[in-house]
């Protein structure tokens, strides 16, 4: 059984909670005691319906204020797949939360109200999914029951969305007409929309092909930890533990270690369950090398003819996530792969309006929830790929040096 992570976002009234509630309920991931608790709170508040948002609104403040503050993670499984939903709120800290939820998502689900069509939030949502390079976009045209299941409504929305999305970089886009409330095309194909020939929403989630989304071409192994048991039974054992962030490794492969630039071969790939014939992204394994060369945490094992970019001058799209604005000259801590370095902001090229995609080149700051293109200089060379080529070796976070807060998320613009 495979794992699919997907992100959703939306406002209170677009039916997102109803849809998630239905997916969870139909897959038996909601339990009776949870449902009873939600029903109890709903009736205490005097709601005339059971507010399924209460299932995901876990914090006291959220329940009291009736808003979602933070990303909530929900889990369900069908016989075909296990699903992790990153459910992000529609209003508060929208960009920050959407970027967070999308950073690990295989798929983003965009909800469009069939009566309202594409609104500002729809565009913002699609843009952030493309910025984070979520490989699959699933556009659910919801509330089809309220437009008499009219094909023309669905077609018009699809055309408008497709036209807008042509300005974005979206690899795979699918449209499904649904009614979350009535259940049309959610789990089963609906008899109310015989003109729709695609799969139901759940069937799409179960079958969308995600195996080729990972980078299996560029071998990248950032060293996390050096395993040296120093036990009498293993006197000379030295292994390099890490997670494969790209490509495939096999014993006998010629490899190059950065920053030393020395080459050697893979002597073996070890795991607790025994030696492996090959290992691929995103497996966590331990590599042994033939030659006794100096390798430590923060180093990168790659191939002599397939290396990441090595550099101290970075160009990136940055999403800013804290109150104090980002300015040229700021000094920050930066984590990329398995190393922390210091970074200074050299240039802010433009601030991007996430609603209109307009580039404001006059802007001198990035404020909370802004996205912009930034040049940074770091204290030590990083071994990186462009984010479009590799989401692991192409991403970084920024933290403030005094308060240690996670202040920004960066996506590297590489040479390709």
């Amino acid at each position: 059984m495979e794992l699919l992570r997907f992100a959703t976002a939306g406002s209170v009234d677009d039916g997102k909670s109803t849809l998630i509630g239905r997916l969870l309920y139909d897959s038996k991931a909601i339990f009776e005691d949870q449902l009873e608790a939600v029903e109890r709170v709903s009736s205490q508040r005097g709601d005339d319906y059971t507010d399924l948002a209460l299932l995901t609104d876990g914090l006291r403040a959220e329940r009291e204020q009736g808003i979602t503050i933070d990303v909530a993670y929900r889990y369900f499984a069908t016989p075909a797949r296990k699903f992790i939903i990153a459910d992000t709120p529609g209003h508060v800290q929208y960009t920050r939360n959407m970027v967070t939820g999308n950073s690990t998502a295989d798929l983003t689900m965009v909800l469009v109200d069939a009566r309202k069509g594409i609104v500002e939030q729809t565009r913002r949502h699609a843009f952030l999914a493309s910025l984070l390079r979520v490989p699959h976009l699933l556009v659910c045209v919801n509330k089809m029951d309220l437009v008499d299941y009219e094909q023309s409504v669905f077609d018009a929305i699809r055309e408008e969305f497709t036209a807008f999305a042509s300005r974005l970089d979206v690899a795979d886009m699918t449209f499904v007409p649904i009614s979350a409330l009535k259940g049309d095309n959610v789990v089963q194909r609906s008899a109310n929309m015989p003109w729709y020939e695609g799969a139901s929403l759940l069937h799409h989630l179960e079958t969308v092909y995600i195996a080729s989304d990972r980078n299996l071409i560029d071998p990248r192994f950032p060293v996390q930890w050096v395993v040296r048991p120093q036990a009498t039974s293993l006197p000379d054992y030295r292994g390099y533990a890490g997670r494969i962030d790209g490509g495939v490794f096999r014993p006998g492969d010629e490899v190059l270690v950065l920053p030393s630039g020395l080459t050697t071969t893979v002597a073996g790939i070890d795991s607790y369950d025994g030696p492996l014939e090959e290992a691929f992204a995103p497996m966590s394994v331990t590599l042994r090398l033939t030659d006794d060369i100096d390798v430590s945490r923060g180093d990168m094992i790659c191939r002599p003819h397939n290396r990441p970019t090595v550099g101290q001058d970075l160009d990136a799209m940055v999403c800013w996530m804290t109150e104090r604005p980002l300015q040229v000259g700021d000094m920050l801590a930066l984590k990329h792969s398995t190393r922390w370095v210091k970074a200074v902001v050299r240039e802010l090229h433009y601030r991007l309006d996430v609603n209109t995609l307009h580039r404001d080149e006059e802007s001198t700051t990035l404020n909370l929830n802004d996205v912009g293109r930034v040049s940074l200089r770091v204290t030590q060379p990083l071994f990186y790929d462009s984010y479009r080529r590799n989401r692991q070796t192409g991403s970084f976070i920024l933290a403030t040096e005094d308060s240690n807060l996670t202040a920004g998320a960066g996506m590297l613009l590489g040479p390709d």
């Binding site: 503050i69 909530a72 992790i84 930890w225 048991p229 054992y237 890490g242 070890d270 692991q392 807060l405």
Partner: protein
């Protein structure tokens, strides 16, 4: 092609969901070992901490786990669980720290709650925070899962605690990709939850696949019990059976491991991991809703305890 994944391989270069979350957890555990000076792994003997300990073994194999294991001993534990703890720790040659709630009470750091059959659930927080201070731990691994409880569904993998050990749910650091921010000042620490993304069913499937040993109380057995607040509690030294409470023998098992005073048994014939997987898959009650009095206090019982520094 044998990837060491056996029948779980779902296709070429594809990982099963269990291997995917396993790899994610191992990555987290290694990051913590590398970036913190003094991590500790909190071990209760419950199934989640058993899985976490197993993942830690895998992360550093063939080396040993490079940090100690700590048990917060309430003095109200099931004897089967304490025996299990000592056996496991000896097997993997780990170093064990036992922090005792009874000692916190005896030294005046904690005060036993009033009333009959006081729960020591809340008192664990003081003992835990004191031990973290005493040993200067800067990271503490916990086996909490996001599917367990709705406040936990919002908690980060790296959960920042201030100098008082408090969690501030409205002011959490955003967590992107697998780039964790463990930066902190002296006196602050990070709670780390490497199995955040695992569900109860994942845990049982993994125990099955890996053949992990568990305390015997997880499996169906005969036990003398009585009913209180809709839960089946075990007869034992820390509980006073009231005159209206009727004792009877039942075939039960435990879905969670906590104190004897607040952990209820469920009637079950599930005697093997396979039986339990079927039972969990068909269950319509969450494990905490079914068996934990400590979560029933209020809608926000867990959130309130976590704010104070609970697990």
């Amino acid at each position: 092609m044998d990837l060491g994944l056996g029948v779980e391989t779902t296709g070429q270069y594809q990982m099963s969901h269990l291997r995917a979350i396993e790899s994610q957890s191992i990555h987290i555990i290694r990051e913590v070992a590398a970036e913190f000076e003094r991590p500790v792994l909190l071990f209760s003997g419950g199934k989640d901490s058993v899985v976490m300990l197993h993942l830690a073994q895998k992360a550093f194999w063939p080396g040993r786990i490079p940090f100690p294991i700590m048990h917060i001993d309430t003095g109200h534990n099931f004897p089967e669980v304490l025996n299990f703890r000592d056996r496991v720790v000896a097997e993997i040659e780990a170093s064990l720290i036992v922090a005792s709630v009874q000692e916190s009470i005896d030294s005046g750091r904690s005060v036993e709650e009033a009333g009959t059959d006081p729960s020591r659930n809340r008192l664990q927080t003081r003992t835990l925070l004191d031990a973290i201070t005493e040993y200067k731990f800067d990271a503490a691994f916990g086996g909490a899962r996001r599917d367990e409880e709705k406040a936990r569904a919002k908690e980060r993998v790296y959960s920042f605690r201030d100098e008082f050990g408090q969690w501030d749910p409205k002011n959490q650091r955003p967590e992107l990709w697998s780039l964790y921010n463990g930066r902190h000042r002296a006196g602050e620490h990070i709670r780390v939850f490497p199995i955040s993304d695992w569900t109860e069913l994942d845990v049982w499937q993994y125990i099955n696949v890996e053949g992990l040993d568990l305390p015997s109380i997880y499996y169906s057995h005969r036990r003398e019990v009585f009913r209180r607040d809709g839960m089946l509690l075990s007869v034992g030294p820390h509980l006073t059976v009231g005159s209206e409470e009727e004792l009877f023998e039942a075939t039960v098992r435990y879905r969670t491991v906590g104190d004897m005073t607040c952990t209820g048994a469920v009637e079950s014939n599930a005697a093997t991991v396979d039986d339990i997987i079927l039972e969990v898959a068909a269950s319509r009650l969450t494990e905490r809703g079914a068996t934990r009095a400590d979560d029933r206090a209020s809608e926000a019982a867990m959130e309130d305890r976590k704010r104070e520094g609970y697990f």
